[in-house]
């Protein structure tokens, strides 16, 4: 039987149509160092730091700023899979992350932390990166669960990103499948400890280059 194979009309991928994402990529490439303060602020703080005795002021200011950052980490609610249930349990009254200063917020533009909770598929990865790019600096990311850490049980599937650190830089990895709320709380406390030692320049790590 002769059937002519149709050629399906393939529309362009959705995320290529957004202009601002491309603008943002260009902006990021122009600033490879990550987020820095303005040059004037930079030279001013450097001057104070190298003035005799001035380091007391700058390090005290650093400590204060990092304390402020640590005490109000707002995670964007980004639930992808079953880990999101545990994340919601962590946000809810029994475990109550609000006592740590964390308010689950439904907008990336007001958030400092992204908890990637669940399997990241290749189709979802550009959207995840887009949401991450919408968050203002300084920002952090927690990879929650085996799937987000390494692909987990779906690592040898055809459609799963083998670890979310191929898409965005990750600060804390929480193991487990899924991690219980205690585990995630431990990860969030570790993150707060990291933020305490956050550098003044705000320089961030690049996504891990992985080969397998």
């Amino acid at each position: 039987m002769e059937i002519k194979a149709p050629t399906p009309q393939i529309p362009p991928a959705v995320w290529t149509e957004f202009k601002d994402l491309q603008e943002w990529e260009k902006y990021r490439q122009e600033r490879p160092e990550g987020d820095k303060h303005s040059a004037l602020f930079e030279s001013l703080t450097e001057g104070i730091h190298h003035f005799p005795g001035g380091f007391v002021v700058t390090s005290a200011a650093d400590a204060f700023l990092n304390w402020a950052r640590k005490s109000s980490v707002w995670p964007v609610t980004f639930g992808l899979a079953c880990c999101a249930i545990e994340m919601m349990a962590t946000f809810a009254s029994r475990f109550d992350v609000e006592r740590l200063g964390m308010v689950p917020w439904a907008s990336p533009r007001h958030s400092d932390l992204m908890i990637v909770s669940g399997t990241v598929s290749i189709k979802m990865a550009p959207m995840l990166k887009r949401i991450y790019d919408q968050m203002p600096d300084p920002k952090w990311a927690v990879s929650m669960g085996s799937c987000a850490n390494s692909g987990g049980p779906f690592r040898h599937g055809y459609h799963v990103v083998k670890g979310v650190d191929r898409v965005i830089p990750v600060d804390v990895y929480v193991p487990g499948c899924p991690p219980p709320p205690e585990s995630l709380l431990n990860g969030l406390l570790l993150l707060q400890e990291q933020i305490t030692y956050f550098r003044r320049t705000g320089r961030r790590a690049a996504p891990t280059e992985k080969v397998d």
Partner: protein, 150 residues
């Protein structure tokens, strides 16, 4: 109509004995009688409920399309199969007959690369539109790199 009568009518019309026991009928036909069998199942046997459509990759022997339709009033289930032959990817579409076949055939095209002739909107349904390859084929390597995220 009981399933024995349905069996007899299929034997009479298509010349194949239905496999399966009781109210489950399994009928294999050639691809050029595929639409005819589906029309017969819908109009004569009253199988109005389209259960699923999928495919099986038999490697060198080619692909096989499997469909199950049911007559819920008398409890009759008809599993229809067709072998496309080695290297064939063309198959007539059931979408004009059954509305339920629409997304099923799109998924089947997405996963197995079967081109359903006569389908009104044959696009990928689950994977991104720029995906290369059809993942549920046995010849598809699961670790195929897919830039930029793999």
């Amino acid at each position: 109509m009981s399933h024995d009568q349905a069996r007899a009518r299929i034997q009479e019309r298509f010349g194949v004995a239905a496999e399966g026991g009781g109210p489950l009928l399994i009928v294999s036909v050639a691809p050029d009688r595929w639409v005819e069998l589906a029309t017969f199942a819908r109009d004569s046997l009253g199988c109005l409920y389209f259960n699923f459509l999928t495919a099986v990759d038999w490697k060198e022997q080619g692909l096989e399309v499997v469909t199950r339709v049911e007559n819920l009033d008398v409890g009759l289930a008809l599993v229809m199969k067709t072998r496309l032959g080695p290297g064939e990817t063309g198959c007539p579409s059931l979408q004009p007959l059954y509305e339920g076949a629409d997304w099923m055939e799109r998924e089947c095209y997405d996963m197995f690369g079967i081109r359903f002739a006569g389908h009104h909107d044959l696009r990928r349904i689950l994977l991104p539109q720029d995906w290369e390859g059809h993942p549920l084929l046995k010849s598809y390597a699961v670790d195929t790199p897919h830039p930029p995220y793999r």
